[in-house]
Amino acid sequence: MSMESLPDALLQYILSHISNARDVAACNCVSKRWKDATTYVRTLYFPRNSFDNPSSGEIPDNIVQRMVSNVVKLEELVVYSPFSPSGLASWLSLVGQSLAQLELRMDNLADNQASRESPSKLDCIGAAKNLVSLKLWGVLMINSPKWDVFQNLSTLEIIGARLEDPVLTVVLLACPYLKRLLLLGCEGVRSISIELPYLEECKLDFYGLGNCSLSLISPKIESLEVQGCSWIRVPETGHLKKLSISNSSGRVYMIDFGNLNVLEFLSMRGVQWCWDAICKMLKLASEVKHLFMKVEFTGDFEALQPFPEIDFVEFFNSHPKLQKFDIHGAMFAALCQRNSLKHVDPGFVIPCLEEAVITVRSPLNAEQKISTLESLLKYGKNLRTMVIKILQMKSCHTSADDFFDEICRLRYMNHEKVRIE
């Protein structure tokens, strides 16, 4: 049974699913009808090693151009192989109007030459006026690109970049209708103010000293992840459901958020958060269902300090909807201080808690820690699972062994619920 009896439309439809430029090139060689049919490909993807063995006499930029020109109404172009600004300009002059998605490996992070080339690769991207999604890898952004406003751009992803604040501002000004913004592995940001009225999802990962300042004004924001900031201001949070703040190199010292009435998930991570910031965050997140806490220390200055005592009852009463609680870092120790369980009485209930994952770092205060674990089991009426992670305890003292024995006993008494890792 031969497929030659396939109508043209069906052949075009099958081939429109092919995206790897190599496969398209192979299809072009199959027969004349096939070469005509590859005109209807919707995506062209050039992997990193596309031109490791180039054809004699033709430079990669021109090969890409030839293949792009062979397609009618290209929707998506992905180029991971190296290219030049003039190459990019030539491709976009062909498809700039119809292109909806563009993904490029810019690869000019180490370039110092790039800053002098005009127009730059970044500048050239402006020709794709109707882009819906733009994703760039390894970009040097120290000169503001000459862009008009991207009217249709709803997703911008930049991964691995060296930025400067004013350049980032110019870039965001050109994308006022963004719904999704991802800036990952970005170096060089110090202070950034983002005002994007339609933004729903934002993920910022700034690396460096961990002392960036962020101001985000996006009233529709639903999901926010921030890494590497010490000062964060997000005044309009009426729709925020998912929030994650972490800082692995600096100290989080100021957070300023609006009401978090619909927040369901909160993650707080970092080496050091000021106590004020921790309290504020926990207080605002009163409706939260899943809390992930992994802050190692507190302290307002250089000195790393343990958390002060946290009252067990007060904590759970102020987070009544809590279903899942990840307690790592200093939090558990804070719930196991001498008076943490002072207000516990028989009528106390932790109503919604179903799952708890706890990391125990040391055998200090062993008795208190066991009491707190027991309280979680006793008053957590709906608790189904408790996972206790025990880190390598430095002390070779018998107290560590005793403590471990106590935890095992706890597990034995509650074997349906408790698991040790």
Binding site: M1, M3, E4, P7, H17, A21, A25, C29, S31
Partner: protein, 166 residues
Amino acid sequence: MSGISDTERMITLKTVEGTLFDVKSSIAKDLKTVQAFIDDSDDDVTSPIPLPNVFTRELSRILDYLNNHHRFRSGIEKADEEMARYDAEFAKSMSHEELKALILAANYLNVKDLLEFLNQTVADVIQNKSVEFVRNFFGIENDYTPEEEEKLRNENEWAFNGVEQD
């Protein structure tokens, strides 16, 4: 015809080999060619509808696919995973010959979702294969002159390194 709900009506289809299949009219709706035939008929269709281009093996597979997908869609929430697993098995269970035959049948019967799925499967098969493989798979004759072929090969030389040989 009042009193009888649409989903209970059965349509009978006849393949090339003369095998008869009873199909619920809700499933028949997905066979757009068949549905068009039913819609065009003035009276209720009672006698078997002949399908001169469709063999028993293919019709059986198509109905299998549709029945399962209807079941997944009308059922429980996690159906997406089950459906994906079913689809993967379905694609794997066929040889390339059978896949081709099924596409032609699905195209004739105009079964949109199945066709989309099969076309994607074929596109996946073509991935990273040589020109010869593709020609063999589709039974295509090379209509390029030797000169044209040479020119194309040179132009596309970059693409042919590291490709799976048959």
